[in-house]
């Protein structure tokens, strides 16, 4: 049996002397012979090496299984092969098949009950050859030699696929050399058998017999022959295409053959992937840097593989700074997630995931003008990506897009803003003389756009004559002095109506050439204007009214203060102390109707009185003045208090407009310490004696101003030392929520509390008697010393 490990045979060179005895020719021939022999030897060695690799693999298996040494394993292989009647390679293949559970093994175990040993050997040898092979050419040769030739194929080509879907011939055996030369590169878009397999992503079988339907390598050579082009994949990616040619037309191949070819194609894919000279995988750092360098938003995806090496998802490896997540998540939360995790809808209608998968598999880039990306499944798309581009670069996928054109949005926004605020913009190029108006400005002027713009210098012709001075000033500042300016004027529209408008403009100056351009805006401010006018008018009116009423109030207050100062220097009589307090109502613009009085009469008697006119305002104040002074005058007669009130009642009755009033009137004789007093509808005074307070009797006495000639009861009380007598008006104690009697009791409590002096006592009253009716309060107090 022929063993591949036979010792190297000595080189046998047959020398032949040429017929004409030419030594040079003979030498050349000898050289050629030597080369041929050497090549044959290399060839044999190579083949041997492939097989040797397989046998070494089998030996390894036996070492592990039987726990024997390598030498023993070698002997085992030899012995077993002899016993089985197989070549060592065939036996080795069998051993490997039974141990490995890969596609090859499956191939052989599956349909074929008793797989022919040479198939297994062939495949395993080919595999071994591939594993040992350094380049794709060697791989192609190994495959053809070991696996395809026995099937009747005479040529094989292995193409590698590039990013742009072009095919490059990486290995070719069995074709004419110039055919190989011509077909070294197939551009994308050219339909060949191999590129068809690529674009349709399935194996292409050509029976042959026709006259070359598809242009392909060796098309002339194998015109009649059958051909198959199958995808060489590895790691889920299409690495290339394996093309096999038969010299003759072939019938449909049995499944075993089909599967063999598939398995071989996978081998090729693996070979392409691992070939040393190709930097198939661009370092991921480069891809990240590329994404960062892009001005548009970009995302880098890398494939996620399952155990079998198939692509199940893509992971977001990087997103650049311009990237904005449609769902508004932080960039960091999207990077690192897989595409389907982050964007489940990518698997849906938009088919983004499928697109990415296809681009990754084929390397063919994908472009779309617009892609609608729904953020959630039920809602209509919230984001539209424009100019979407998906490309495979190295091992990753780069997705870039342009978000909705920012400048287009801005323009739309701007024109809305102009329309809503009634602002029209203009630009005048002084060099070219070109004037540009926005459509809003035409509307402001009331001109159709066909009329053409009006130069700013002609503004006065479209304005009210009275505004020409202001416009001249404006133009001078702008055009002559070269400074921004604005002015308000009345614009005359074509229909003759005037609209209050404002124009603002700024010059564009060049240091050397001067005024280059003027640009600015007009704004219709008529609504504002008329509002202001109305407002001013109203304000004036209001001011007038306010002034009038303030004047009246001031007068009344002055009057009142003249009559009734809030404090009064206490009158000092030898044995008597007198104090008065007046607290005006809260609404101090409403004059009250309360009065107090304490005056020493010529007779030496003291007149004290308090009164309360019903109502407030001017009439109450004047009424109060009249009554107070009347009482003073009447008291000069020396009449008793009750008589005084009878007269006072008539005075009140004679006043206009039903003036009603209550009053207390008292005359105190310091000599006798007798106080005579009377009341007209008023609360009686309070007497504080020995720490106790009591109201004096409710003498008969009707409210003043009700009926004429009313009669009043006279009261008398002799005061003692330290007695305090207090007269007050009900504004001191009145409460809406309490009964008058309760309020009275409260008053008695307060006033009876001991105090340092009369002043303090009265102050305490003011402080603690909490009335809430916004009425004036008057207090007159006397203390006997």
């Amino acid at each position: 049996m022929h063993t591949p490990t036979e010792p190297q045979q000595p080189l046998e060179v047959e020398g032949r002397v040429g017929e004409n005895g030419d030594n040079a020719t003979a030498g050349l021939e000898r050289l050629a012979e030597t080369v041929r022999a050497l090549r044959a030897q290399v060839e044999r060695a190579r083949i041997g090496a492939d097989t040797r690799g397989l046998i070494e693999l089998a030996k390894g298996v036996l070492v592990e299984r039987l726990h024997i040494g390598p030498a023993e394993a070698a002997r085992q292989v030899s012995t077993l092969a002899e016993q089985a009647g197989l070549s060592q390679a065939e036996l080795a293949a069998d051993i490997v098949n039974r141990t490995a559970r890969d596609g090859f093994a499956q191939l052989l175990i599956d349909e074929i009950a008793d797989p022919p040993p040479e198939v297994g050997a062939r495949l395993r040898t080919a595999e071994s050859g591939v594993l040992a092979a350094g380049d794709v050419q060697a791989v192609t040769e190994a495959i053809l030699e070991h696996a395809l030739a026995p099937l009747g194929a005479t040529a094989a080509a292995v193409w590698t696929v590039d990013l742009d879907a072009s095919l490059t011939l990486a290995g070719a055996v069995g074709f004419n050399p110039d055919e190989i030369e011509r077909w070294h590169y197939v551009p994308p878009g050219v339909t060949t058998a191999a590129s068809s397999a690529l674009t349709s992503r399935r194996t292409i079988w050509i029976r042959g017999g026709d006259s070359g339907v598809l242009p392909s390598i060796g098309g002339a050579q194998f015109r009649e022959g059958g051909r198959v082009a199958t995808l060489a994949t590895s790691g889920g990616r299409i690495r290339g295409v394996l093309e096999i040619c038969w010299p003759t037309a072939m019938p449909t191949q049995p499944p075993q053959v089909v599967r063999q070819i598939d398995a071989l194609a996978e081998l090729c894919g693996h070979a392409i992937e691992t070939r040393p000279e190709s930097a198939v995988q661009a370092p991921r750092a480069d891809l990240t840097a590329l994404a960062d360098a892009m001005l548009d938003p970009a995302m880098v995806l890398v494939p996620e593989l399952d155990e079998g090496g198939a692509v199940i998802d893509f992971r977001v490896h990087h997103a650049n700074a311009r990237f904005v997540d449609p769902e508004g998540r932080q960039r960091a939360s999207v990077v690192g997630a897989t595409l389907l995790e982050a964007y489940p809808v990518a698997a849906g209608k938009s088919a983004l995931y499928d697109t990415v998968a296809e681009v990754h598999a084929t390397g063919a880039p994908f472009r779309a003008e617009r892609l609608a990306l729904s953020v959630s499944i039920d809602q209509p798309p919230l984001t539209e990506l424009e100019a979407l581009s998906v490309s495979r670069i190295g091992g990753g996928v780069l997705i870039t897009w342009r978000p909705q054109d920012e400048s287009a949005k801005s323009t739309i926004l701007l024109s809305h803003a102009q329309r809503l605020s009634q602002v029209g913009g203009f630009d005048e190029d002084k060099i070219t003389g070109e004037i540009t108006w926005t459509s809003e400005l035409y509307a402001l002027y009331g001109l159709p756009e066909t009329e053409g713009p009006i130069p700013l210098a002609d503004l006065a012709e479209h304005a009210h004559p009275d505004d020409s001075a202001a416009i001249t000033r404006f133009l001078r500042t702008l055009l002559h002095h070269g400074r921004p300016a604005s002015t308000v004027f009345r614009m005359r529209r074509p229909d003759g109506a005037y609209r209050h408008s404002r124009v603002i403009a700024e010059p564009l100056l060049d240091p050397s050439s001067g005024l280059v351009a003027v640009r600015g805006a007009y704004q219709d401010i008529s609504a504002q204007h008329w509002t202001e006018v109305a407002l001013a008018a109203t304000r004036d009116q209001l001011v007038l009214t306010e002034q009038e009423s303030a004047e009246r109030n001031r007068l009344a207050l002055q009057l009142q203060r003249a009559i009734m100062p809030s404090t009064h220097d206490p009158i000092e009589l030898p044995d008597l102390r007198i104090a008065v307090r007046y607290r005006p109502a809260e609404k101090d613009h409403l004059v009250g109707g309360d009065w107090y009085d304490a005056v020493v009469l010529p007779s030496g008697q003291l007149l004290i009185s308090v009164g309360d006119i019903a109502g407030h305002g001017i009439d109450a104040a004047t009424g109060m003045v009249v009554l107070r002074n009347a009482l003073r005058g009447l008291a000069a007669t020396g009449a008793a208090p009750n008589q005084l009130l009878t007269w006072l009642n008539n005075v009140a009755g004679n006043l206009a407009d039903h003036v009603l009033a209550t009053a207390l009137c008292g005359l105190y004789d310091p000599e006798t310490r007798v106080l005579r007093w009377a009341r007209a509808g008023h609360l009686p005074p309070v007497l504080v004696r020995d720490g106790h307070a009591n109201t004096l009797p409710m003498l008969k006495g009707l409210l003043l101003g009700v009926k004429a000639d009313a009669e009043y009861e006279l009261g008398e009380v002799r005061l003692r030392e330290d007695d305090v007598l207090v007269m007050y008006t009900d504004g001191l104690i009145e409460r809406r929520t309490a009964s008058l009697d309760d309020s009275l009791d409260h008053l008695l409590d307060i006033v009876s509390t001991s105090a340092i002096d009369l002043d303090q006592r009265l102050d305490r009253l003011l402080l603690h008697c909490d009335a809430d009716t916004d009425d004036d309060a008057c207090i007159v107090g006397i203390q006997v010393r």
């Binding site: 309360d612 019903a614 109502g615 407030h616 039903h658 009603l660 209550t662 509808g681 008023h682 609360l683 409710m698 008969k700 006495g701 009707l702 409210l703 009700v706 009926k707 009145e734 809406r736 929520t737 009964s739 008058l740 009697d741 009716t773 009425d775």
Partner: protein
């Protein structure tokens, strides 16, 4: 919810007109009361006009003028104006102190006023 300080109702009770006053009669509401009483007096075919003040919680001096006016009108028109001050009301106390009770025509209750 701000409650109006004063509420009045005017109704006919047979050949009488009855005005019930609830709440506070002060400077602010006195004018309103004046109008109500004037309107009530204008309702024709009334034998007597009654003002029920038993539910008045505060009666200020401004109210006195109103009552006096109504009283004098009653004397002129011959349709008496009767005031029901109530037993313990604020109105009664004021009317007592000012002795208006003796000036006005009063009744202890609405029924007695009507009859």
């Amino acid at each position: 919810m701000t409650k109006a300080p004063m509420n009045t109702t005017t109704e006919r009770a047979g050949d009488s007109v009855l005005v019930r006053v609830v709440g506070e009669v002060d400077l602010a509401t006195a004018a309103e009361l004046k109008g109500v009483l004037a309107a009530a007096a204008d309702l024709g075919d009334a034998r007597v006009l009654v003002a029920d003040l038993s539910d008045v919680t505060f009666f200020g001096s401004a109210g006195l003028t109103v009552l006096l006016t109504a009283h004098e009108r009653g004397c002129e028109t011959g349709v008496p104006f009767v005031v029901v001050p109530g037993v313990d009301s604020s109105a009664r106390r004021i009317l007592e102190i000012t002795e208006m009770l003796e000036v006005l025509t009063t009744a202890d209750s609405v029924d007695s006023a009507i009859s």
